[in-house]
């Protein structure tokens, strides 16, 4: 299989998955979309498949995402963001189903936000179906420890969610 064919196959297999992962990781679907595009552009310009293309894509995506976060930090509060933005305060309590659903989504986002970055990455990579070896490569962890860290991350996430939204859910 030539590079172009391998590239097309990898795109079909991984683009949506990487997009899902990044948009959950950062809560910004537009940015996630842009980063996924940029990852594949970089891969194409590389002209050859890396040894582990899936791990390579996630690593590049993490670097791009980190760079974007640094820029956001430097920008501080000087700028206004145009476009979709997450509400920063608690949503007003209202009994209707739509509001309740929005509160749940917000609680999930906040629960994820309470986790250390590595735990969030672990949890979300696994949620998107990445294997332990891929996760270990990307996060530079020992494969044998992934199960234990994942179990702790899942527990921490559920605990945070229940604190935010109540144990009844």
């Amino acid at each position: 299989m030539g590079f172009e064919d391998a590239f097309a196959a990898l795109f079909a297999d991984q683009a949506a998955r990487l997009y899902g992962y990044l948009s959950r990781l950062g809560g910004d679907a537009e940015l996630a979309e842009d980063i996924v595009q940029e990852c594949f552009v970089k891969l194409y310009r590389r002209g050859a498949m890396p040894e582990d293309p899936k791990a390579w894509l996630v690593t590049v995506a993490h670097n791009l995402w980190r760079d974007d976060r640094r820029r956001e930090t430097r920008r501080g509060r000087l700028l206004l963001t145009h476009g979709a933005e997450l509400p920063s305060g608690a949503l007003p309590a209202a009994p209707d189903a739509a509001t309740l659903a929005a509160e749940r989504v917000e609680a999930v986002r906040r629960a994820l936000g309470r986790l250390p970055l590595r735990d969030r990455q672990l949890l979300l990579l696994r949620h998107e179906g990445y294997g332990y070896r891929e996760i270990a490569d990307v996060l530079q962890l020992a494969p044998s420890g992934i199960g234990t860290m994942l179990a702790r991350a899942k527990d921490a996430f559920r605990k945070a969610y229940h604190e935010l939204f109540g144990a009844s859910t």
Binding site: A8, F11, A12, A15, A16, Y19, G20, S23, R24, G27, A29, E30, L31, A32, E33, D34, V36, Q37, E38, F40, V41, Y44, R45, D68, R71, R74, R75, L78, L79, L80, T81, H82, G83, A101, R104, V105, V108, R109, A111, L123, L124, R126, H127, G131, Y132, G145, I146, G147, T148, M149, L150, A151, R152, K154, D155, F157, R158, Y161
Partner: protein
């Protein structure tokens, strides 16, 4: 580990995830069959997994319209072409310099004129012939992956107007001659003591463009997203002071 000892969470987790080698998995299953405590833990973990997956599923992102193979290939090939053009331009500049010409200005002026003609077909030429040596009223560059226009300082007057256009070059024009320096990262505007107003044309296709005034980021375009110190007006332009 003894087969009678309770199994650690990580091992149960790996079993649920299908990540244990088959012999190891068989051993753990054998233990689970004989150990009600561990069996109860793995059932609990399985149920908790469903809860976690359901919660994370709530964050399902919207469909990604631009994530099409053709679009990515187009962008990748265009980026390659742009790089080749930049290399060719750099070679041209070096050859011009070697011939003793005024380095940079003819190239930059030609480019600026072309951009202005495309965006302002009825407008005046961007470079005024009476501009003093070293000062110009406009420049244009082909942006790389990241392009930055940096103003040295704030001014006592003048406004900055930024607009997005279907061009391939990043261009800036001023109402009065100012010193511009084209850098590998974009353009540096030496505007100390100036009260000029500026218009910046940003290619819609540019990957990352930033405009900075005295270390303050006033405008930033990353992919499709634009963040600016002011909202866009009804014409889609971002108008802000330089003070």
């Amino acid at each position: 580990m003894s087969s009678s000892a309770h199994r650690p969470d990580g091992e149960l987790r790996a079993l649920l995830d299908g990540e244990l080698p088959s012999a190891h998995a068989a051993e753990v299953r054998q233990h689970l069959a004989a150990c009600p405590a561990c069996h109860a833990r793995i059932i609990e973990s399985e149920q908790a997994d469903q809860t976690t997956a359901g919660l994370l599923g709530l964050l399902e992102p919207p469909p990604a319209a631009s994530l099409q193979l053709e679009a990515v290939l187009h962008r990748a090939r265009r980026a390659q072409g742009r790089r080749a053009a930049l290399i060719a331009a750099a070679v041209t500049l070096m050859v011009t310099a070697a011939a003793g010409a005024t380095v940079g200005r003819p190239f930059v002026r030609t480019l600026a004129a072309r951009v202005w003609a495309a965006v302002h077909p009825q407008g005046r030429a961007p470079i005024q012939p009476e501009a003093p040596f070293g000062a110009q009223t406009g420049v244009a560059v082909v942006p790389g992956d990241v392009a930055e226009i940096v103003f040295d300082t704030t001014q006592t007057g003048g406004v900055l107007r930024v607009l997005l256009a279907d061009t391939s070059e990043l261009a800036i024009r001023s109402s009065a001659p100012v010193m511009y320096r084209v850098t590998p990262d974009g353009v540096r505007v030496h505007n100390r003591g100036s009260a000029a107003s500026y218009e910046v044309i940003v290619p819609r296709t540019a990957r990352s463009v930033r405009i900075v005034i005295a270390s303050r980021v006033m405008f930033e375009k990353t992919g499709l997203r634009v963040v600016a110190a002011t909202s866009a007006d009804s014409a889609g332009q971002y108008v802000m002071t330089i003070q």
